[in-house]
């Protein structure tokens, strides 16, 4: 394997072994567990997405760019592009209702299995007061159970029982799909794209971590313009985006 610091900012492939400082000569096969909870020699290093700890080093499991953050003991992770969504517990996603089976709705969230959503998992829902959900509706909710062994389960309330923005998404509007990296960029605090777009037209926006975006503006034409800009933001640089928006607001 090679030293982890030498590869920061470069492309790594699955199967690459990254050696951490202080362990260059150690044999990666020594796998003895120590019962005491003593700290590892190099401090508390965080092993982020795309990496897995293997013996003395880190094993890369996704292809992408290796990133490093020295703060707080250090963290390594791999920045990778992905379009296919894998359900993760706690993620807020937009799901499409595909079936009603007894007390449970089946939602398509773009993963390998449809997610289940109980009709009691809405704010103010009781056995007599059922939510008005039809097949084909859009639901914004979060995962409470999401792992590779079981089917994912969603709810539309948070831990205190309040809906906090989740639930059935209203009528009209436009749903489209983008890559997961763009969603993460749009969800960053003070995202420039959203700020610039909001100066163009007023609109409603729902971002799902599964790559789905729902937009609604005053007219259909405005909605479609916003959809096209958001889809193009994937590949446009900041200047190109500013030029495109300047042309539109000039019209």
């Amino acid at each position: 394997g090679t030293a982890a610091e030498a590869l920061v900012g470069q492309v790594v492939l699955p199967g690459d072994l990254l050696l951490l400082p202080g362990h260059y000569d150690e044999d990666a096969e020594s796998e003895r567990l120590r019962l005491s909870a003593g700290a590892t020699p190099q401090g508390r290093l965080l092993c982020g997405p795309g990496l897995r700890r293997s013996g003395a080093g880190l094993l890369v499991t996704k292809c992408g760019l290796l990133r490093h953050r020295p703060a707080g003991g250090g963290a390594y992770w791999v920045d990778s592009q992905q379009k296919r969504y894998v359900p993760v517990k706690g993620d807020h996603v937009i799901g499409i209702v595909t079936a009603k089976a007894g007390d449970v709705f089946r939602l398509d969230v773009g993963g390998s299995e449809p997610a289940s959503l109980s009709y009691l998992a809405f704010e103010g829902a009781t056995k007599r007061n059922r939510p008005n959900v039809q097949v084909g509706d859009l639901i914004y909710g979060q995962f409470v159970v999401a792992n590779k062994d079981m089917e994912p389960e969603m709810v539309c309330i948070d831990s205190s029982g309040k809906s906090s923005g989740m639930g059935i998404i209203g009528q009209d509007g436009f749903l489209f799909k983008v890559s997961l990296g763009l969603i993460r960029k749009l969800l960053a605090p003070k995202c420039e794209i959203i700020q610039e777009l909001s100066q163009l037209y007023p609109f409603e926006l729902v971002l799902g971590m599964n790559g789905r975006i729902w937009v609604k503006a005053k007219t259909i034409q405005q909605t479609l313009i916003i959809v096209n800009i958001l889809e193009a933001c994937e590949y446009m640089t900041a200047e190109q985006r500013k030029q495109a928006l300047a042309k539109l607001s000039g019209n």
Binding site: R32, L33, R52, R53, S54, V145, N147, D149, M150, E153
Partner: protein, 194 residues
Amino acid sequence: RQPLSLCVVGERLCSTEEATAGSGTYTRHGFIFSSLAGCLERKNEDNELPVVSVVRDSESQLLPNVGAVVTCKVCSINSRFAKVHILYVGSTPLKSTFRGTIRREDIRATEKDKVEVYKSFRPSDIVLAKVISLGDAQSNYLLSTAENELGVVVARSEAGVQMVPISWCEMQCPRTHTKEFRKVARVQPQFLQT
């Protein structure tokens, strides 16, 4: 030895006055009928009546009884139960696997409502369980792990390496050092080497 004679299910073999019913047979209206399709065997006892039995193969299929400890492999999990394949009954392997179910309330003896199936079993774990019910025609064997000596014996981590148990509810992977939750079976004292 008697010459080989075959019989089918429901064939009337003899009356209960001539012989006693053995395995693979049942008695109705004072007669012995066969309940399997196979070879008829008649064993002559010295003082008592001969025993009539029907065998299908040379070795009889061992069926798990209620209260037997079985070794099984988890094939799928759900938030309510875990489905398993029964591989061994006691220490004898089965020729064909049976299917079993471990319900969420039968995984542990204490705090049954706080049990999470995902934190007790995962698919491909090897589990020691006890049969609590044979089930009816459509359902599987009902199993339970609600004892200290029952539970997960062998499990693989997400990295694919066999894990080491560190407590009754956790196992650790020797390569990645991550801990995973399982309902671990306590090793019986006679198997511990000191």
